[in-house]
């Protein structure tokens, strides 16, 4: 496996929609502990909207598919998740405009642009107990594996492992962004719902491409 096709990307988005539907209550429970108990509901609504829009663009280039995904999330998720995941997919799409398949390096550019989109919009840093805690180490692990000569599926596997570690590492953290930040010390001891949904999305990418 050394190319990511348009069909992979479409399948990935469909798998994400299914995974988020399955984890709707789990994500909402995580959010109830430190936020406002709507993250799973919002992400499920967002990817239901993505599925509606996907039919119109599934034969277009990967950039168009991902930008359409971002716009659908932006106009349906609401909360902080809407602009953050909307920016993630829009920036990812803008990084691969016109392409119908991607090399592992191009996927790396896509992932880097995606996480940068989230950081630019939300201004969160590593350790603030947010999506960034799963996304940034994941992208760095992916890039590092390729630089060291690893193949696509090794890079994706390490990416998911880094995302999972980043997600679990949010448990002891005190939140510094978003609604959880108002809890102060009481936000410690809970896994961040945004980092969790980010992990699920990256895991779905690896499983779609490499099984």
């Amino acid at each position: 496996m050394s190319t990511i096709t348009r069909e992979h990307i479409v399948q990935w988005l469909e798998n994400v929609a299914q995974v988020l539907a399955e984890n709707k209550e789990y994500l909402t429970e995580l959010d109830a502990a430190i936020g406002d108990a709507d993250h799973g509901i919002n992400m499920d609504r967002g990817f239901t909207k993505v599925m509606e829009r996907l039919d119109g663009v599934r034969d277009k280039d990967i950039g168009t598919i991902l930008r359409t995904t971002g716009m659908a999330l932006l106009s349906s998720v609401g909360g902080a998740g809407g602009p953050l995941y909307g920016s993630l997919f829009m920036k990812a799409g803008m990084a691969v405009t016109g392409k119908h398949e991607l090399t592992p390096e191009e996927l790396g550019k896509l992932l880097r642009a995606a996480v940068q989109g989230v950081i630019d919009r939300g201004k969160a840093q590593l350790g603030d107990k947010t999506m960034v805690d799963a996304l940034l180490p994941a992208v760095e692990a992916y890039e590092k594996t390729l630089q060291e000569g690893g193949d696509l599926c090794t890079a994706l596997t390490r990416m998911v492992a880094a995302a999972e570690k980043g997600m679990k590492d949010t448990i002891p953290l005190v939140a510094k962004k978003g609604r959880a930040s108002y809890l102060g010390e009481r936000s410690a001891g809970h896994q961040d719902p945004g980092a969790t949904s980010s992990y699920l999305i990256l895991k779905a990418l690896k499983e779609t491409v490499c099984g």
């Binding site: 909402t28 108990a37 106009s75």
Partner: protein, 357 residues
């Protein structure tokens, strides 16, 4: 938890349909994307728009009408609205004077309104976003999103709405007034019970029979401190003193700069209350607390203000910014000057606030 709902996912839309039927003389409702708008918009007037998650009714939709908001964008319950809602609402009620967004300081609201601000300005409709962040329960604002936007939002919408309607303020002057209201207003709330989001079906947090949450926000999120239940007087004193004795509060805000055509960041500082200040006092029900209890709170608040040298010159007592069926109370004090008081007293005609006309 028992609720008057049909299908939970239809809750917000059915509420909007009811509002449209009840107040069709004043407001209209657009459903895709969702916004409530004022029916007759005077030419040249600045359009004042707010929005936020649903579940805080009557805020914001109940304040659309004459002398207050021109449009309100409701999100799902406790979820910020999306940028396309604010963008379309702005285009709908823009009458040549530009758009002022009143934005409560929550990460979701801030980001969605910032994106809408960029979109409207790109469209050639001058738009400024002004923040409300008045909740003194948030202390360590360096390590959080900052103070939340709570009770002062209601007072700002009335005062700024009057200045746009009756004072004929232009957009920049209106933004200056909104900022002045924000830095002079402070709030703090508490909960006796949590609340249940219809689509979630479970309470947003657990609270024992003999416990209370001090320093809650307005989204059913837990508060800053969980404590044994106290008397009405003790609770009132706790909230009132936290507000009155709060020191200067400085933070950096991000607003659209019309002249530069881009974002600017600058510092704003809330001056503390001083003996001799005149204030508007709001005693607000979080949704489930009866008016009788609000008066018990107001009685004590009045006594504390007198003791501290503050004169309550106007008051507002009732449910204006709520968290669904949550039992609890929020106190807001806003220091007034002649300009703020003059605009407070101007006529207003909206579904939820009406005087003078």
């Amino acid at each position: 938890m028992k609720k008057l709902v049909n299908r939970p996912e239809d809750f917000v839309r059915e509420m909007l349909e009811g509002m449209e039927k009840a107040h069709g003389d004043l407001i209209g409702v657009n459903y895709e994307p969702r916004y409530i708008y004022r029916k007759e918009m005077p030419q040249g007037k600045v359009a004042v728009i707010s929005g936020g998650g649903s579940g805080h009714e009557p805020m914001h939709g109940g304040f659309v009408g004459i002398g207050m908001l021109d449009a309100a964008c409701p999100g799902e319950v406790f979820t910020s609205p999306t940028p396309d809602q604010m963008y379309e609402a702005g285009k709908k009620v823009h009458a040549g004077g530009g758009v002022l967004f009143i934005v409560k300081n929550y990460s979701g609201d801030v980001m969605n309104f910032e994106m809408a601000t960029e979109m409207l300005n790109m469209e050639g409709i001058p738009t400024i976003n002004v923040l409300v962040d008045d909740d003194v329960a948030v202390k360590d604002s360096l390590y959080t999103q900052g103070r939340r936007g709570t009770g002062t939002t209601v007072l700002m919408e009335k005062i700024v709405g009057a200045a746009a309607e009756w004072g004929k303020y232009d957009l920049k002057r209106l933004a200056d007034l909104a900022r002045k209201v924000n830095v002079n207003g402070r709030s703090m709330g508490m909960a006796l019970t949590p609340c249940t989001v219809p689509t979630a079906g479970k309470p947003t947090f657990e609270l024992g029979e003999d416990e209370m949450e001090i320093g809650i926000g307005i989204h059913g999120e837990p508060g800053r401190y969980r404590e044994p239940l106290a008397t009405a007087d003790e609770i009132t004193e706790r909230l009132a003193l936290a507000i009155i004795e709060d020191g200067p509060y400085t933070r950096t805000v991000k607003e659209w700069d019309l002249d530069a055509g881009g974002w600017k960041e600058f510092e704003l500082t809330d001056p503390p209350f001083q003996p001799g200040d005149h204030v508007i006092a709001m005693v607000n029900s979080m949704g489930g607390t009866p008016v009788s209890e609000l008066y018990v709170v107001y009685r004590k608040l009045h006594e504390i203000c007198e003791k501290k040298g503050l004169t309550i010159v106007r008051n507002l007592i009732g449910a204006y910014i709520t968290s669904l069926e949550m039992q609890g109370v929020m106190i807001t004090l806003l220091k007034v000057d002649d300009e703020i008081l003059e605009m407070w007293d101007k006529p207003v005609k909206t579904p939820a606030l009406r005087w003078g006309m």
